[in-house]
C-alpha cells in the first residue's frame, strides 16, 4: 500500500513569503528593468531607448572608476575583517563571567544605525576638533580626511572595521563554541601545537560560519552606501565615490533614471553571481 508522504497543502504556507518577495523585490526589479531601456523627462513620460544606457554605462570611465573603487574597498574590508574577526574570537574566553561581557561589547557596534556611525566618525575624525583627527595631527601625522584621498580611504575602512568586525567575531565565536571538548582533549593527547589545533580542528569546524560571514560581509561592503556617504559624501573629489553612491548621484542628483537603472541591473547581476558562488561553496562544504 502506498502512503502519501508529501503534503502539498504545505505550499500554501509559503504564499505569504512569495507575496512579500513579489512586492518588495520582484516588482521593483521589473520596474528597474523597464526604466533601464527608456528615457524620461517628466513623470509618466517615457521614450524607448533600447540598450543605449547599457552601452553608455559599460563604456563609461566614471562607471569603471566607481566599480574599481567598490571592488578595492570590498577586498580590503574582507582582507582585514575576516582574519581579525577570527583572531578576536579565538582570544575570547569560552567559559566564565567574562563571556557575557565580551559578547555584549562585541554586539554594541552592530546596534548602532549606519547613518549614526557615519556621523560619529565624521566628527571623530575631524582634524581640528575630532579625537582621532586632532590626535593624529598632534602626533605629527598630516591627516585631513576632507582633503586627502588616502586619509579619506583609511577613515572609511577604519569605520567599517570598527562597525562590522564584531559580526565576524560573533559568527566565528559561535563556530568555535560548537566544537566538543573531546576534540581538544584528543589534540592534547597527541601533543598537537596551538597552530595545528587551529589548522586541523578549529578552522574546519568554523568553515561553514566563515563562508556565511564572508558572504554577509561581501554583500554589505559591496553595497555600502550610508556610512561613507555621511562621512565623506564620496569625496574628496571622487576618491570615495563607490558604485552605490554613484548610482544614487545618477538617479536622484542628476535624474538620469535610465542610466541609474542600467547601472542597477549590472550591479544586481554582480551581486547575484557572487551570492551563487558562495551558496554553491557552502553546499559543497556541507556535502563533503
Amino acid at each position: 500500500m502506498s502512503s502519501k508522504t508529501v503534503n502539498q497543502k504545505a505550499w500554501l504556507l509559503v504564499l505569504p513569503v512569495l507575496l512579500i518577495v513579489a512586492l518588495n523585490a520582484v516588482i521593483p526589479l521589473m520596474t528597474v528593468v523597464n526604466y533601464s531601456v527608456q528615457d524620461t523627462f517628466s513623470p509618466g513620460v517615457f521614450f524607448f531607448e533600447g540598450t543605449k544606457w547599457y552601452r553608455e554605462v559599460l563604456s563609461s570611465p566614471r562607471f569603471h572608476g566607481a566599480l574599481g573603487r567598490q571592488f578595492l574597498y570590498t577586498a580590503i574590508i574582507l582582507a582585514i575583517e575576516i582574519p581579525l574577526g577570527v583572531a578576536v574570537a579565538l582570544a575570547m574566553p569560552r567559559k566564565g563571567p567574562w563571556v557575557s561581557v565580551c559578547l555584549v561589547l562585541m554586539a554594541l557596534p552592530l546596534l548602532i544605525p549606519w547613518n549614526v556611525v557615519g556621523a560619529m566618525w565624521n566628527i571623530f575624525a575631524l582634524p581640528d576638533i575630532g579625537l582621532l583627527g586632532y590626535g593624529l595631527n598632534w602626533l605629527g601625522f598630516d591627516y585631513n580626511y576632507t582633503q586627502q584621498p588616502l586619509a579619506a580611504w583609511m577613515t572609511v575602512i577604519l569605520m567599517d572595521v570598527w562597525h562590522w568586525t564584531s559580526l565576524v567575531v560573533l559568527l566565528a565565536y559561535a563556530g568555535l563554541s560548537s566544537i566538543p571538548d573531546a576534540y581538544y582533549q584528543a589534540a592534547k593527547i597527541d601533543g598537537a601545537s596551538r597552530l595545528s589545533v587551529f589548522r586541523f580542528i578549529q578552522l574546519p569546524k568554523m568553515k561553514r560560519v566563515l563562508i556565511i560571514a564572508l558572504l554577509l560581509r561581501f554583500m554589505d561592503s559591496f553595497m555600502v552606501y550610508t556610512e561613507p556617504f555621511v562621512l565623506t559624501g564620496g569625496g574628496p573629489g571622487n576618491s570615495t565615490t563607490f558604485l552605490s553612491i554613484d548610482l544614487v548621484k545618477a538617479a536622484i542628483g542628476e535624474f538620469n533614471l535610465g542610466i541609474a537603472a542600467a547601472m542597477s541591473i549590472i550591479y544586481f547581476l554582480m551581486t547575484l553571481l557572487v551570492c551563487w558562488v558562495f551558496y554553491t561553496a557552502m553546499m559543497r562544504s556541507e556535502e563533503s
Binding site: 517615457f46 552601452r55 547581476l269
Partner: protein, 94 residues
C-alpha cells in the same frame, strides 16, 4: 493614468518577463511529469538539478548579453544566439 503606468512597461520588457515566467512554468510542468529534478554531476564538478541548470543558464546569458553590449557594437541578437547555445550546453553537460 493607467493602473501600472508607474512601472513604465514596454512590450519588449513585457515579452522578456513573459519568457522568464514561461521558463518557470515549463520547469514546474517538467517537474510534475518527471519528479526529482534530474540531479547529475556535471563538468563543473557540481551536483545540479534542472532548476540549478536553468539558473546558471539565465545568469550566464545575462552576462553574455552584458559582455556583448560592452565589448562589441554588433546587434544584441548575436548575443542572444550565443546565450541559447550556452543554455543548451549547460543543460547537457553541467
Amino acid at each position: 493614468m493607467k493602473p501600472l503606468a508607474w512601472m513604465a512597461w514596454t512590450w519588449q520588457t513585457a515579452t522578456f518577463f513573459c519568457f522568464i515566467a514561461a521558463c518557470l512554468i515549463t520547469m514546474l510542468l517538467w517537474e510534475m511529469l518527471k519528479p526529482g529534478g534530474s540531479p547529475k554531476h556535471g563538468v563543473l564538478g557540481l551536483n545540479t538539478t534542472r532548476g540549478d541548470r536553468l539558473f546558471i543558464s539565465l545568469l550566464g546569458s545575462a552576462y553574455i548579453h552584458v559582455a556583448w553590449l560592452g565589448l562589441t557594437e554588433q546587434p544584441l541578437w548575436w548575443g542572444s544566439v550565443i546565450s541559447v547555445f550556452f543554455a543548451l550546453t549547460v543543460f547537457k553537460w553541467v
